[in-house]
């Protein structure tokens, strides 16, 4: 039925059929406070009327900027109820990015979470000719702002109720007039290469893949989900909006970003979706806690982790798990795995997904070994999120599963993955050239990923097509594959692998400040600042060990030979990673060209001056000397292997 409906129509349906059940739940003042489907609709309707009173109508755009807050969800649906388009924006976007998106999308109403976001928008006001109304959720610190176009969320709803008194059933009529093929969402892609592009999606685009996914994964109305990822991420629009409205489960909002860990545990969600970064961080945090635990706990954890991973390996290879190992695993379930799942908040999780980028096989296996049903999904913003998911019986770290019902996948001659799906976008807003480049003549989306379909019919993604390169000797190289292996180490925060048209593989490593900081503490290694820590020879040795471990699992030709420990973290404010934390490889290669050259030259040291951007948008130069280090795997051995 979703194919014939719009998002607000589904909201109205839920308000009528399951009106008393909790639609949303927000932790506020220390208590989980539910909002029923009926109230959800009433809040949306009142805000919608308020927007109408301000002249907002069909085709107008409304942006939300902030953390996951119920009112920001109300606002998006209110705009869509009137035939408008929601344009969610990353809450940590700096002023220039924000200005670009708001201006490009011609947003007329912005709903901001708090004073911080309102201040950002007010500072850009002169550059935003289309902006007519700024609405805020949390009014703290804003009482004395007097701008004619600034209003509180409650005030807009109040104005809406007045408007509604003179215009009975105004929103109901507008919702009924909505059509599934109308635009519902502009999802600005974070873009690893260029300016963000506005992906135009219709109600049907969002709902049809959601429907196929719900059917394939048996997502039901009793699920609990914690929405803790940016509202601007397509995964959030898919799960916390489209799927949520379609299936009618409960969507929960954390108290604030810092409390997510505790909120997860209190809530015990039954489903979850997060990008690789989340799982990597989760594993790192767990490793740190295990290392800090008492001798007994630490050893138990390490021992049973080994047991779980060996058992997982057997299952992965299709061998039977030996009885002894099976027994130990049962014991481990009681002593370690169950409690760990509880700590992570996945005790009740039926299934959790990783998507948005490939997750390293080691991290993936770890969670599965501990009894968490982690599965890979694959998709793209241009596909409204999803196009494939692993089936329960066929989960392995290398594939991204089967294509969903109603969708097709095909591999182009050059190895690029092409997808045809009802989720395919309507084009990039005001960028018809880019749209033409993204689609084939027959309506297939060029995903930009290199991949193939294995003998079981599952899709395998190798890497971004343009990143797959060859070493100087012709060995093919998938940088992300190596990076993900390296990032399995808790000490490695980010890694960028180089090697295309070069004689060997080299890597720039950004250490994880928390784990390396703790490690330094345990080693009684004194340091003054993060920069100082990064430049310590002991840290370099630590990373060299991690690289050796990673090298052991790589074919000889793809082994890392030289590396540099960078003295800063990669930061989205410096354009080095996207807001969804994908490395912008080209940009990094350009910015750190001197470092890359040094790694392939004979220089033991390199002078680096890098521009860094503070959170308030100011810039500063960071000057330092970085040491280029060799991995002492002797060249003869490599030659012998080759």
């Amino acid at each position: 039925m979703s194919g014939a409906a719009t998002l607000p129509q589904l909201l109205l349906r839920n308000a009528e059929t399951i009106g008393d059940r909790p639609a949303l739940r927000e932790k506020h003042l220390g208590i989980w406070q539910p909002c029923t489907w009926r109230r959800y609709w009433h809040e949306v309707r009142d805000f919608s009327l308020g927007l109408a009173a301000h002249g907002f109508g069909r085709g107008d755009k409304l942006s939300v900027i902030g953390e996951n807050r119920p009112r920001l969800y109300f606002a998006q649906l209110a705009a869509q109820s009137l035939g408008g388009i929601a344009v969610p924006i990353y809450q940590d976007a700096i002023a220039s990015e924000l200005a670009y998106v708001l201006d490009h999308a011609e947003t007329s109403v912005v709903v901001a979470e708090d004073q911080e976001q309102v201040d950002k928008i007010l500072s850009l006001q002169a550059r935003l000719p289309h902006l007519k109304l700024v609405v805020y959720d949390d009014g703290r610190g804003l009482n004395h702002y007097s701008y004619p176009f600034l209003a509180s969320f409650a005030a807009v709803q109040e104005a809406g109720r007045k408007f509604g008194a003179d215009h009975p059933d105004y929103v109901e009529h507008a919702v009924a007039a909505g059509r599934p093929e109308e635009l519902a969402l502009f999802s600005y892609t974070s873009g690893t290469t260029s300016r963000p592009k506005g992906v135009m999606l219709t109600h049907a685009n969002l709902l049809l893949p959601a429907e196929a996914f719900a059917a394939a994964e048996k997502i039901g109305p009793r699920e609990e989900h914690l929405a803790n990822l940016p509202m601007a991420w397509i995964g959030t629009s898919l799960l916390s909006v489209a799927l949520h409205l379609l299936v009618g489960f409960t969507c929960n909002f954390p108290e604030k970003p810092e409390t997510v860990e505790r909120d997860l545990r209190e809530l015990g969600p039954t489903i979850g979706l997060a990008p690789p970064r989340f799982w990597e961080n989760s594993l790192t945090a767990l490793t740190v806690r295990a290392a800090d635990a008492s001798w007994l706990k630490r050893n138990l954890f390490d021992y049973f982790r080994g047991v779980a991973e060996r058992a997982q390996q057997c299952a992965g290879d299709g061998r039977a798990v030996p009885p002894g190992l099976r027994l130990m695993r049962a014991l481990g379930e009681v002593l370690i795995y169950g409690p760990v799942r509880d700590q992570l908040g996945w005790r009740r999780a039926r299934v959790v997904y990783t998507g948005g980028a490939p997750l390293g096989a080691e991290v993936f296996r770890f969670f599965r070994a501990f009894g968490i049903n982690l599965k890979q999904v694959y998709g793209a913003t241009e596909l409204s999120g999803l196009c494939s998911v692993q089936r329960d019986a066929e989960v392995d770290p290398d594939t991204v599963g089967h294509i969903l019902a109603g969708m097709e996948v095909r591999i182009a001659e050059e190895g690029e993955v092409l997808v045809r799906s009802p989720g395919i976008f309507q084009g990039y807003y005001k960028q018809s050239e880019a749209t033409r480049e993204a689609l084939t003549g027959e309506g297939w989306l060029k995903t930009g990923d290199a991949g193939y379909i294995d003998k079981r019919g599952q899709l395998v993604i190798i890497d971004r097509a343009r990143d797959v390169g060859k070493l100087a000797d012709g060995t093919s190289l998938a940088p992300q594959f190596i990076e993900n292996k390296l990032k399995f180490s808790p000490y490695v925060g980010e890694a960028v692998v180089f090697g295309a048209a070069r004689p060997f593989v080299a890597v720039i490593v950004a250490i994880d400040p928390t784990t390396v900081g703790k490690w330094a503490e345990r080693q009684r290694l004194a340091y003054t600042s993060f920069q100082d820590l990064c430049s310590r020879p002991e840290v370099r040795d630590l990373i060299a060990d991690e690289i050796r471990r990673c090298n052991a699992a790589l074919p000889p030709a793809s082994r890392i030979r030289r590396f540099v420990v960078l003295n800063k973290e990669f930061d989205a404010d410096d354009d080095e990673i996207t807001r969804t934390r994908k490395i912008r490889r080209r940009f990094v290669a350009e910015k750190y060209a001197a470092v890359v050259d040094a790694m392939y030259g004979e220089l033991p040291e390199v002078e680096l001056s890098a521009e860094i951007t503070y959170e308030d948008g100011r810039k500063a130069m960071l000057r330092s000397r970085l040491t280029v280090a060799d991995i002492d795997a002797p060249a003869e051995r490599d030659l012998a292997d080759a």
């Binding site: 220390g30 703290r140 009482n143 004395h144 702002y145 503070y614």
Partner: protein, 285 residues
């Protein structure tokens, strides 16, 4: 560091203008108070009048008598002479607990929290002054006592939300970073629902980001509940940014008083406090 603070891009002047427009009335009148310790004249003949809803700062070099003055207002010291009148009532001789109950709360220069207790418990403790049920009914914890506890918890949660301490609710305060402990102390003082908040160097020992946060919280408290704030602070940039009025003490005496701009221009202040240089030389904490 200071440069960053000043360029923070925060729309502060608006909030300050608004507080200026409030009607001026003597909320707290300190009249010619003096205090000596042995032969040391800590405070001598100091008079300060604070209006409702104002942010008033007291600055001065080390040993100028700022904390002694605050201690007299909060009842920790009794002045040798002079009077302190709060909302028309003479509180000069009142005990600290009585003054707290009247609605004057404070924080300390050296954080005074219960390290072994959680953030929530520390904040709840601040509510005790406002609790009415007796020991017996509190033990039975039924009826009034329970309703009271729930109401107080709700208020404590509001403050935790206001000061962004949600993730630390269940953490022991001893384990928290310095800047966070200062924030918890502010939450506990606010738990009294004070009419006047006395802050003794709330930004001492903080980095610029923490200072910026704390300044924002002070302004927010002032704006949200109309709480009068009396602030002792070393960081000149902060004081000049957020105060409605500034009084300058030097060796126990008040040598100047006025708006931040006036005080900055005052030649005596420059000589005594800023060491003869212009105000831009600043005295960073």
């Amino acid at each position: 560091m200071r440069a960053r603070f000043e360029q923070g891009g925060i729309a502060w002047p608006m909030a300050i203008e608004a507080t200026h427009s409030l009607p001026a009335e003597a909320h707290l009148a300190v009249t010619q108070v003096s205090k000596r310790f042995g032969g040391v004249r800590a405070v001598e003949d100091v008079s300060i009048t604070v209006s409702r809803g104002e942010i008033a700062s007291v600055i001065g070099p080390n040993g100028a008598g700022k904390t002694s003055l605050l201690n007299m207002i909060s009842g920790f010291y009794k002045p040798d002479s002079g009077s302190i009148v709060f909302d028309g009532a003479d509180i000069t001789r009142d005990r600290p607990s009585e003054i707290a109950a009247r609605g004057i709360a404070r924080t300390f220069q050296n954080i005074a929290l219960f390290g072994g207790m959680t953030v929530l418990d520390n904040v709840m403790l601040g509510r005790h002054v406002r609790m009415k049920s007796g020991i017996l009914s509190s033990i039975v914890y039924w009826g009034l006592a329970q309703r009271e506890e729930v109401a107080h918890r709700a208020r404590a949660e509001e403050l935790i939300d206001f000061l962004g301490l949600q993730d630390l609710r269940r953490q022991q305060t001893a384990a928290l970073a310095y800047g966070l402990r200062k924030r918890v102390e502010l939450a506990r003082a606010l738990a009294l629902d004070p009419k006047i908040l006395l802050l003794d160097e709330p930004m001492g020992g903080m980095n610029s980001e923490e200072k910026e946060d704390m300044a924002r919280y002070i302004l927010d408290v002032n704006e949200q509940w109309g709480t009068t704030v009396i602030l002792i602070e070393h960081d000149m940039a902060v004081v000049m940014d957020i105060s409605d009025r500034v009084a300058v003490l030097d060796r126990g005496r008040k040598i100047a008083e006025g708006t931040p701009a006036e005080v900055q221009q005052n030649p005596e202040v420059m000589r005594a406090y800023l060491g003869g240089a212009g105000p831009e030389a600043g005295v960073g904490a």
